[in-house]
Subunit: 250 residues, 2 copies
C-alpha cells in the first residue's frame, strides 16, 4: 500500500497543534527515534522504506505503509528526511503521582521547542519522571520538541497545568528556582525531593510564580561574580542544577 | 541613507561561509545582541531603525544606515526580525596562549550551530577563554551560531585547528574527555587546568582523538547505571562537566 494523498495531508496537518489535539496524535521521525519509541508507545501509522521496515521485528501498529524514499521526503518535517516516520497516539499522563519522594521539574513559559525537548531528554537522564509546564509553554508534541527528546518522551510525563495553582496545592514540598538574587547552590542544603522551577528564555520566572519559590538558588559563574558573562541558556541551567541535585543524592 | 540593493545583497551573501571568509565579516542580529557586541567588536555596517539607533551613544562604526522595519524584515536571517542588524569584522584570535594555567575546550566535529553557540555561551559563563575546534566543526560565524552565543562571542576565542596535531603538541597538560567507558567524574581527581574534549552529536569522539585523551570521564545518570536513558545532548554534557570542574576549583 502506498502513501495516499489523504494520508499525506493528515500527516502534514500534525505540524499544527490544533490538529494534533483534534486527532490526539503526533509525528516522530527518523530511523532511531521511531525504533526507540515503537516498543513503548501506541502507533497509529508507520511509514517506512522497505529497508527500514525489514529491520523491525514484531510490530504492534494499526497501519504500516511501505513507501519510497521520495514519498518520505515529501511528507517529512525534517531538513534531512530519513527512512521512517510514525504517527503515535498522545500519551495519557499518570494521574497518581507521589510528590513526597521525587524530584520534579516545573517550566514557566519555555518557548523554544529545542529547549523543551532537550530538557525532557536530560530529565530522563536524571530519572525525573514528571515535568509540569505552564499552559503557555511550548507543546510537547511539536515535531521539533519530539525530535530533540531523542526518545525520552516515552519515559518522561509532561503535564500542562495552571502553574501557580499547582505550586500552591503542593506547598508542603520544597520549591526551588534559579534566580539571579538566589543563594549559591553549592552552599545551600538541598533535598532529594522537591520541584525545580525554570523560567522563560527572555523573561525568566513570572512574579506570581517566583513568590511561590521557597528556596532561591543561584548557579555561580567562574570566576565567581564576573559581571561580563550574563546568562545561561535555560536548558543548560536546568542541566547544571539537576546534575547538582543528583550528585548530592548519590 | 537607505539600504541599497547592493548592501542588501552583500548582507545576504554572508549567510554563506564562502563569502564570510572572502570578506572576513559576519552578521549579528537583534537589538540586544548588536548592542552587546558593539563596544567590543569592530563594526563595518550597522543597520537599525531610527528608534533603535537613538538608544545608542557614541558609535565607532564605519557605516550606519537608518532603515525602515520592512527593510530589516527583508534582509534578516531571523524568523522574527528585530530592529537592528550589524556586520562585524571577524575576530583575530590570540596567538599567545598560556596553556599551563587554564581550562580549555576542544570540539571534535560538533555539527549543530545551536549546540556550538550554546557551548560558546556557557564557556563564557565558566571563564573558559579558548575553544579549539576540529576543522569540520560548524563555523563560529554561521548566523545561527552567532545568535545562540548571546554576545559571548566577544569574550571567547574560537580556533580551528588540526585537533590531533594540537593535542599531540600539548601532551604535557591533562586531556579530559567524556566517554561511555570513562570513570565516574565525581570520583576522579581533576585539575584546574587542562583540555576537555567533546565529540560529534552522533558519533562522539573520533578514535584518533580518543587515543590522545589521558583521563576518560563519565557523567553518571540517575539512578546510576539506569540503562533506559541513553545519552545527553553534547551542549548539556559540556555544561555539566564544566560546572563540575569549576565547582571543584572554587
Amino acid at each position: 500500500m502506498s502513501l495516499s494523498k489523504n494520508k499525506l495531508k493528515y500527516i502534514r496537518s500534525l505540524k499544527d497543534k490544533k490538529f494534533r489535539s483534534e486527532y490526539n496524535t503526533f509525528v516522530a521521525e527518523g530511523n532511531k527515534l521511531v525504533s526507540d519509541l515503537l516498543p513503548y508507545m501506541k502507533c497509529q501509522l508507520l511509514v517506512g522504506t522497505e529497508a527500514f521496515l525489514s529491520t523491525l521485528h514484531t510490530l504492534d501498529v494499526e497501519e504500516v505503509i511501505e513507501a519510497e524514499q521520495h514519498q518520505l521526503d515529501q511528507v517529512s518535517f525534517l531538513k534531512n528526511p530519513q527512512q521512517a516516520l510514525a504517527v503515535f497516539y498522545q500519551i495519557e499522563t499518570d494521574a497518581e503521582i507521589d510528590f513526597s519522594d521525587q524530584l520534579l521539574l516545573a517550566l514557566d513559559g519555555i518557548q523554544d521547542p529545542g529547549n523543551l525537548g532537550t530538557i525532557i531528554r536530560l530529565a530522563d537522564w536524571y530519572g525525573i519522571r514528571h515535568i509540569f509546564c505552564s499552559v503557555d509553554t511550548a507543546d510537547v508534541y511539536n515535531p521539533k520538541v519530539v525530535q530533540a527528546t531523542m526518545g525520552a518522551l516515552a519515559r518522561v510525563n509532561v503535564h500542562y497545568v495552571d502553574l501557580a495553582e499547582f505550586l500552591e496545592k503542593h506547598n508542603n514540598i520544597p520549591v526551588y528556582g534559579t534566580l539571579l538574587d538566589g543563594q549559591n547552590m553549592y552552599e545551600q542544603e538541598i533535598t532529594r525531593n522537591g520541584i525545580i522551577v525554570m523560567g522563560n528564555e527572555g523573561n525568566g520566572i513570572r512574579p506570581e510564580i517566583e513568590c511561590l519559590i521557597t528556596k532561591k538558588l543561584y548557579i555561580p559563574n567562574y570566576p565567581v561574580g564576573d559581571p561580563t558573562s550574563e546568562s545561561l541558556n535555560v536548558a543548560i541551567a536546568t542541566a547544571i542544577i539537576c546534575a547538582e541535585f543528583r550528585r548530592r543524592s548519590f
